[in-house]
């Protein structure tokens, strides 16, 4: 065969492959899921509701329609009921004209009813399926998860985006699928997920992250309110910034606040004479935010006094969380993991009795809190004098 003939033949043969874009899919054939909610129906079935992002390409009609050409992207919520997640997804597909795509789903909300039963079902699906991302955020909703998805947000693009941004701000918990799986596979088999609460006000609903839900063996065990959750964040070393407000008894009954911009915590376990102890070491630095007490903040000893007050308030906040956790007997504080890491032998021996040991763990606190700066005013006499009768 001539060399030119051979080249031509090769080129022609490679054309056969050109037709084979089996996995080609157009963006307007995809139902892009931005968030999904999983609920449990009354007959123990899984109800999957998804928030779809419908991209509408700019067309000539749109520009003609006038000023409202800004954001024409719509958010649609659809749902389907199935025996498990995979089945519900298949049912959902029947109701959609586009192919379900999980790759952009950043938020998964579990309804409380499902959470109380077990989150095994959705988590198994989300980790096994190749599309959902490990960084997607997990939430539990007060009431049905569907309502959270249906909510139209004024600020962000959709409610999924709003929830994700709220979680990232870290005033509450921020838990990804990977983190949840990691915690569940640790020694205590517990996890904590943030809770979305829908606030009804003036006929308008606005969901926000309020507190958290604790899980033991994949089942929701407890519901923690916001302040207990904050205490939990301190224990888990997930606090980014915090404002601590405490009364100042030394300063004429005023109040002072500090804004902590650096905070870190550490759990130090110890076992002595069969007594299990946990020392919580906290290191925090902050700026004075407000001071309505009569204490003169330009003087060093007064600052120390203020620090003492803040420390006490902070300790009380954390103590409360520990107390609630020990009372419930569910170790979501991560104590088990710490004991396992530092005392593997003792841990393996008494692993089975952990539920009995955990409430008896003696917790001590070692808090170092520094007020580094006093703000722009020093001894603010003017304001304090005008207040005194």
């Amino acid at each position: 065969m001539q060399p030119t003939c051979r080249t031509l033949l090769t080129l022609l043969l490679s054309a056969i492959l050109l037709s084979g874009c089996w996995d080609r899919i157009e963006i307007n054939d995809l139902a892009i899921i931005t968030a999904a909610g999983v609920d449990l129906t009354d007959n123990d079935r899984i109800k999957l509701s998804v928030q779809l992002f419908v991209p509408s390409p700019p067309s000539s009609e749109q520009s003609a329609s006038g000023p409202s050409s800004g954001s024409t992207n719509k958010t649609v919520v659809r749902d389907a009921i199935g025996i498990d997640m995979a089945d519900a997804t298949a049912r959902l597909q029947e109701r959609l004209s586009r192919k379900v795509f999980w790759g952009q789903a950043d938020v998964f909300v579990f309804g409380e009813k499902l959470a109380r039963k077990s989150i095994k079902e959705p988590l198994e699906f989300l980790t096994r399926h190749p599309h959902p991302r490990e960084r997607a955020n997990l939430f539990v909703s007060d009431g049905p998860a569907e309502n959270v998805l249906k909510w139209n947000t004024p600020i962000e693009r959709n409610s999924a985006e709003t929830l994700r941004e709220m979680a990232i701000l870290q005033t509450g918990l921020n838990v990804s699928i990977l983190q949840a799986i990691e915690e569940l596979s640790e020694e205590a088999h517990t996890a904590v997920l943030p809770v979305v609460h829908i606030l009804q006000k003036d006929g308008e609903s606005s969901p926000f992250i309020s507190g958290s839900a604790t899980f033991k063996d994949l089942r929701m065990a407890d519901r923690l309110d916001t302040s207990v959750t904050r205490g939990l964040l301190w224990l888990r070393n997930e606090i980014k910034s915090a404002t601590i407000t405490s009364p100042v008894p030394q300063g004429g009954g005023g109040i002072a606040s500090v804004y902590l911009f650096h905070a870190s915590s550490k759990l130090v376990p110890s076992i002595k004479n069969g007594e299990w102890r946990m020392r919580v070491v906290i290191d925090a630095t902050g700026n004075l935010n407000e001071n309505t007490s009569t204490l003169d903040t330009t003087k060093e000893p007064n600052i120390v006094k203020l620090q003492q007050n803040f420390k006490r308030t902070l300790q009380k906040r954390i103590e409360e969380t520990v107390k609630i956790a020990q009372k419930s007997g569910v170790d979501y504080l991560g104590f088990a993991e710490q004991f396992y890491r530092h005392y593997p032998k003792q841990w393996n021996k008494s692993k089975k009795n952990w539920d009995e040991i955990f409430p008896k763990v003696v917790v001590s606190y070692d808090i170092r809190l520094v007020v580094a700066r006093n703000g722009l005013t020093g001894d603010n006499k003017t304001l304090q004098q005008s207040e005194t009768p």
């Binding site: 492959l17 084979g20 089996w22 996995d23 790759g103 980790t127 190749p130 991302r133 490990e134 960084r135 990232i168 990804s176 990977l178 799986i181 990691e182 596979s185 640790e186 396992y340 890491r341 530092h342 005392y343 593997p344 032998k345 393996n348």
Partner: protein, 371 residues
Amino acid sequence: MERGRISAAQVAVLSFMAVTATSLLTAPTVASSVAKQDMWLSPILASTVGFLIVWLLVKLNQAYPNQTLIEYMKKLLGRPLGVTIGLLYLLFIIQTTANVLRQFTDFIKMTFLLTTPALVIAGSMILVCALIVRGGVETVARFATLLLPVVVVLILMLYMPTIKDINAHNFEPVLSEGMTPPLKGAFRLMSWVPVFTFMNFYLPFVSNKRHMLGWAFGSVAIFTVILFVTFIFVYAILGDATPIYVYPFMVLARFISLTEFFEHLESLVMMVWVVEIVIRITFGLFSASIGLAQCLGLPQYRPLVLPISMIMVLFSYWGITNVEFVFSPEIVMYYLTFGLLLPLLLYLASLMKRRFGKQQKDTEEKGEYAV
């Protein structure tokens, strides 16, 4: 049969890249399933076997400088036995390479191209590899060296953004159950390390043989370091969840989020994976082709490349219903038999033959077995 000449460094690069190929993606799961938080120790323990294997191969090559394992086996064990074991050894090469091909197809089919027929994925992959192998030993070796920077840069791109997510406490408690778990982990890693034996098919073409031992050890050392670093990163980030994921390296890449902007890096994993797999398959395909030609006493190996490629595609389906088979502990024995035991026995045979031969032909010139 093959007139190409390659350098010791090229063999080293080719070998460690080929062995790293599949281990990068799946080894963390296999090791962590038995060794848990001590899994980082497993590659270091496993490397001892790697060093032993390459030492044996280089020593054998020094005894028979211009021969591959198949050729000196025929000489050492006699023709009938040598050819029989040689064919079994070639079957081992073909089958393990076919397993890699299967893992590659499965990974692609599962995560990226769901509806593309598996035959197209496997076929196009093997076709590229066959073309490289037909180019000769120089092409095979240079291809690996050429792509080394690409792989290094991509792997660094995957590791660097994850540094901030590292939690060193995941490795505690250190060695809480003694050395047994990491040793078990090292044992499971033996389904990768013995692949270093394929190196024997490249050693005869090395031009600077004086440096071969150093480079061969370097090759195993780099492999160990890469695996060690991967294990550290994977376990520091995934922690106790490592054993539940089949491709933890992939999870790592998907977990990357650098300032919420640098995300969805799984395509980089895909690129690393494709490049590495090409190198791994060419590594095996060249070995099998030249080995078969020598085993059967053929003058050329190039005509065998395409038929063997087709056999590999077939082998990647025959008898493998589910890819989990590749991770079973039983397969380790298979790898060790051909990867470690065979070179070891051949080395012992060569020692014995040398001593025995010396006594017999004491007066004759002793040029052939000079070590």
